[in-house]
Each structure stands twice: as C-alpha cells, then as structure tokens.
Symmetry: C2
Subunit: 389 residues, 2 copies
Amino acid sequence: MSSKPESWAYLNRVIEGPSRPLQELLSAGRDADDIARGVRTRAKWLGELGRQTQARYNHDQSAADLEAAAAVGARLISPDDQEWPGAELDQAFGFAATGRSEHLRSYQADAVPPHALWAKGADLTGLVAQSVAVVGTRAVTRYGVEATRQIVAGLASHQWTVVSGGAFGIDTAAHEAALAAGGNTVAVAACGIDRVYPARNAALLERIAGQGCVLSEYPPGTTPQRHRFLTRNRLVAALTAGTVIVEAAWRSGALNTLSWAEGLGRVAMAVPGPITGAGSLGCHERIRSGRAQLVTGADEIRALLGAVGALDVTQQYELAFAATPAQSLSRNELRIFDACGSAAVSAEDIAAGAGLPLPLVVHLLMDLHRRALIGREGSTWFRVGEHRD
Amino acid sequence: MSSKPESWAYLNRVIEGPSRPLQELLSAGRDADDIARGVRTRAKWLGELGRQTQARYNHDQSAADLEAAAAVGARLISPDDQEWPGAELDQAFGFAATGRSEHLRSYQADAVPPHALWAKGADLTGLVAQSVAVVGTRAVTRYGVEATRQIVAGLASHQWTVVSGGAFGIDTAAHEAALAAGGNTVAVAACGIDRVYPARNAALLERIAGQGCVLSEYPPGTTPQRHRFLTRNRLVAALTAGTVIVEAAWRSGALNTLSWAEGLGRVAMAVPGPITGAGSLGCHERIRSGRAQLVTGADEIRALLGAVGALDVTQQYELAFAATPAQSLSRNELRIFDACGSAAVSAEDIAAGAGLPLPLVVHLLMDLHRRALIGREGSTWFRVGEHRD
C-alpha cells in the first residue's frame, strides 16, 4: 500500500534530509502515512525522530509545497513511486551501512537515502540506469573545460547520463557538453526545486529540465546552504555508477563528492592535468594516494564502469572470473539479455521487459550484436544460439 | 692490483657493451689485463666471449682511442678507478640479477654494467651520489618544457644532479634548467665521447661538460644507433636513484628508460599532463597500470627518493619502520651522520669522510641541523647528544 504524497511532502518539510531516525522507522516497516501521523500526534514510538521534529511538527505545508512544485512544472517522487531510484539508493547506502568504507567518517550520520525527491524533467529511472557523475571546481581553467567537454561528449555518445551539481565551472561544462551532444544530463540542486541557484545558470537549468532532469531532496523554497551542498554531493555519488572529478584544487568541494563515491562503494575516478597550475592538485593527490583511478577519456571511464555497473563486490569478482561471454555482461546488458528470448522481439518490447530507456536499449543491443551475443533479424533481436531451437 | 687503462680501452673497443660474458669473467676474478691477453691470444677459457671477439680481437686501437678521448678533453673511467660509480652499478645490476623484475624480459641480456665509461667533465662520484634521471619525448610541448623546468629547478636547488640523455625535447629542457639553476647535470650519450649528437646540441653538451659531465660507454668514434639508445637508457636508469618521465606519448622511447628503472630496482616516476593532447599518454598509462608513481613536483620526487635513495627492499622496509630519527636517514644522510663524531668537525672533513661533494654535504648538514640530529658550532658540526660526552 502506498502512502499519500501529502504524507511524504509533510515529512520532507518537517524533517530535513538526510534523516537516519526516519530511515530507521521506514526500514522497520512503518509507512509514510503512519510516520506522518505519529509526528503530528507526537507519538512516543518516534524516539529520536520525535525530538528532531519537536519544533517543526506543526508546520504542515504539504499542500502548498506540492502546489509550489507543480507551479514550476516539478513533481514529488517518493519511495512509493515507480520512478524512485530505489535500486541505486539501496545499493549505495547498503554499502555504506556495511561500514566497509574508511572514507565516510564524519559523514556517517548522513549516509542514508533521501526520503523524497523533487524532480523537474524526464523520468528518473531511465536517466540514472546508466549514469556517471562528472564534477569539479568552480574556479575552472580553459583546460578543465576542454577536458570536461571531451570526456562528456564521449560518454553522451554511448548513452551515458551525466549527473552533476549545476554549479559554475566544471559542473556547467559537463551539463552543457551533454546537452550539446544530445545526451542525457541530471542536475542535483542543493536548494528547493523552485529556486534557481546559481541564478546565472537559470537558462542552463531550464535546458537541463527540458532535456534531462533537475532534482532536489529539499522542499520548495529551501535556500542553498553549506551543509546542503555536502548532502547534495552524497546524492550525486549515490545515483551514479561512479564519479569523475575533472579539475579540483587542493581543498576543492568536488573532492567531497569523490569521497562520497568511495564511501558509497562507487567507482572513484580523477582526470590528471598540468602540474604547472594548481587546478588539478586535488585530482593528483587522490590518484597518488590510490583513492581514485586515473582516467583520461570516456572509453576508460566506460571500461571501469561497464563491467562494474552497480554491482556489489562479490558480483564484480564473479564478472572478473566469468567463464562464458554472457557471464561478463554488465548489469544493464544482462537485463537486456534476459529480456531477449529465443524468439526475435522488437527493441521496444525488450526495453519494456528490461525496464530501460529505448535509446540505451538500442545502443546496448547493437553492442551485444557486435559481440555476437545477440542476433538481429530486421528490427527484431534474439539470443544467439537459442533462436528457433 | 689495477689493470692498465690500455687493457680496458682495448676491451671496450673489441667488445661492444654491455657484455654479459665479459662481466661473468670479471666476476669470476679475472682482471682486465688478463682478459685482454686472453682475447688477443684467443684463449680457450674465454668461452662465449671468444666467439664474440672472433672478428674483432685484432682491432687494437687502445692507444689511439685514449688519445682521441684526450684530444676532446675526455678520460677513460674503468672499474679500477676511484671515480667508477661502482656502488650505483652494483646495486642496480645486482637487483636485476635477482630476477625479481618482471620488466626486463627481452632486455635481460643487456642487464649488466658497462665495462668502461668515457667521461668529459667533473668527477663522477660526486655527481651521481645524489642524482635523479629526468627524461621524456623529443616531440615536446610547451607544457612539457615548462613542467620540466619547474621540476628540475626544484631538484637543483636541493643539490640533486639531473641525469638525462642529451636529446632534443625534454632531455634538453632538463639539462638546460639544471644549468640555469647552477645545478649539476650529466648527459649520457649513445655515441662516442668525441662525437656530438644531436649536432644542434653541441653548445649545450659543451656547457654540460663544463659544469657537470658528459658520459659514454662506447669508444671514441662510435656512431649513435638505435640499439645504443636502448643500452644508454639502461645506464641513465642505473646511475640514478630514480627516473622521472615528464612527457611521453604512447610509444615514446623515454618509456624504455622508465622500464629500465623498474628493472633495476630504481624508483619509477611519471608526471601527469593534459588529457587534451597526446603528449602525456605514456605517463598516464604507466601511472594507471601502477608501474610508475605520479609526481607533480621536486618535493615529491625528493620525498620518494630521500628515504629510499639507493637502498634495497629490505633497507627500505627498515627505514619505513624506523624506531629512531637516525634510523630514518637516507643513505647520504647516514654517510654524513656517520662521518660526524662527538667532537665538532668542519664540513670539509665530513665531506672527505663521507666521500660526498662539499655542496651536497653542507646542504644535508643544514637539513639534519634543522631536524635537530646534527648540532652546529660556528663552522663545525657534531652529532647531537654525543657532543662532549
């Protein structure tokens, strides 16, 4: 049974995400309606959440928030919705919960999923299914912009969605390059979905919403604040298979996203740059210390993510020692392979079966076809060796 | 007992280095006079060396070669000479002989020391005592030159000798930057010491010989040929504590020097660069594959070499787990520390005792003084804690 959107909107307003106590109640099986009722009535079983909502429990703006979002063409996505990126979030925060990461430390408290997302743009499921974060400094150099463009163009041409933070500098270069290549891109904001930050990126954020999606875990009207950038970074890392940092000086905030990627079991990658400037210092430091893998182009990024996707460590080992070609398929390839049968079917049917966006499905089908794992007959596809048996 | 220089010159002429059969006879205790006699008389005990010298054994040009060298202000350095870099060569080729390196493969036959060196310039012992190789592509970019300059200036200011191959591009930039900083530099040539290659670097090579040293393991008149560049590279790596590759495209010859550094147990380092050009592809590949450490400046290079110096693996571990500050000293620091006593002595005496050049000794004394390991009284120095006990 789904809870009412109003319950999620209410909880999103009175509890600033990420909230570990709320996540614990949800994990314990309580639904949003139930918890919202508990918060409103100051129920004893709320525990820590009761204390956290003491000052705000009667600020019920759920109807107004849903209206404010609708007014700017945005919608609320709750964990009860089809569109909720549950697989990605479960995996990332499931990894964090194992305590295997040394790199969460002071952020451990925040290592829980958002409890709601506000979105403006295309359906999220298809966008994050094959996505990578590309982030970096605001104080960008010409080199950083050029390197970003080169990498993002290569990712976009292979149907990878580029997720970033919508900030000036590398983020802007990443979004723009994805749009220019006709690719998908997602901006995760650190403020309410009805706000525009940074203001000078208003036109860019509109284009992102038009072609991809703008996301926020904060209720409408929320202002961008320092701590929200840090929790936003966690979401960028959680939604994607890996994070690439293009340019980052010694203490760049973009390094925080990379740390989140590590902490959430994602692939952490850094692009090298000239040593004659300070622009890539942070990237070099992460490579040197072994906390990020050196990448110089989209092909290398795809190679690192392709066979890894959003698989856990055991699955990665299984892939590495795969005995048959089919066992070496990435997560998305496997979904497509499984959706194909011995009888030839259309790409549309495969996309529906695999729950993946059509352009990505066609792209991967062609790749699997090249690798002789999937056969083709006109506009239909079938598993090689199983056709007409 | 030392052999006659003429014997070494004769062997150097009739046996092109590196020669494993010759090294085996030397290791077995035969001296150069003895072996030269054996070659001249086609002695049975020469074994493989007899076959190798069959065609050339009567080409005795030793007097002419020594004269040709003297005519250009050069001298022959043999393993019998004080100036022979025996410690460096023994260690490097001793490491290679253990077979621990995976990276010698097709070069294993060449992994033996030279049997003679022709030198033009300053005394070799002081020059190589604290030295690092800086090499790279001939097809240099402006970035590569600037990065080389920056790194070499920092190395020179800390009394590190910069060794390179005298070629165009990065090599030239490295030599020039060392000279400009008033530092020491050594060029290892792939042709005879009386030859100038590349011809356009004639003035540079003259300046190197004037301020540092030009070296060759080939007899006068030898022309530069492809295989000699490869064996020259081995010498560059062997004489130094580590090799830094600044700019190298995918199949750059400079990568060969880096492979030698690995194979000889030296520290292999690579400088990253822009991914928007192909100039640093080879560097990035080596870093990515873990075959070279990423370095972005002289301080990092010194840190990597400082505590490692020319120590073997066991000694490196001992340093890493050193219980006292004195145990964490580098090889050269330890030589200076040992040359100091409880009574205060002059830097000149310490330099004589340690067998290291005075500028390097003064530099390291001041550093040890800062670290409170060495005390100072006027122009004399003593071990802290042991003075006047």
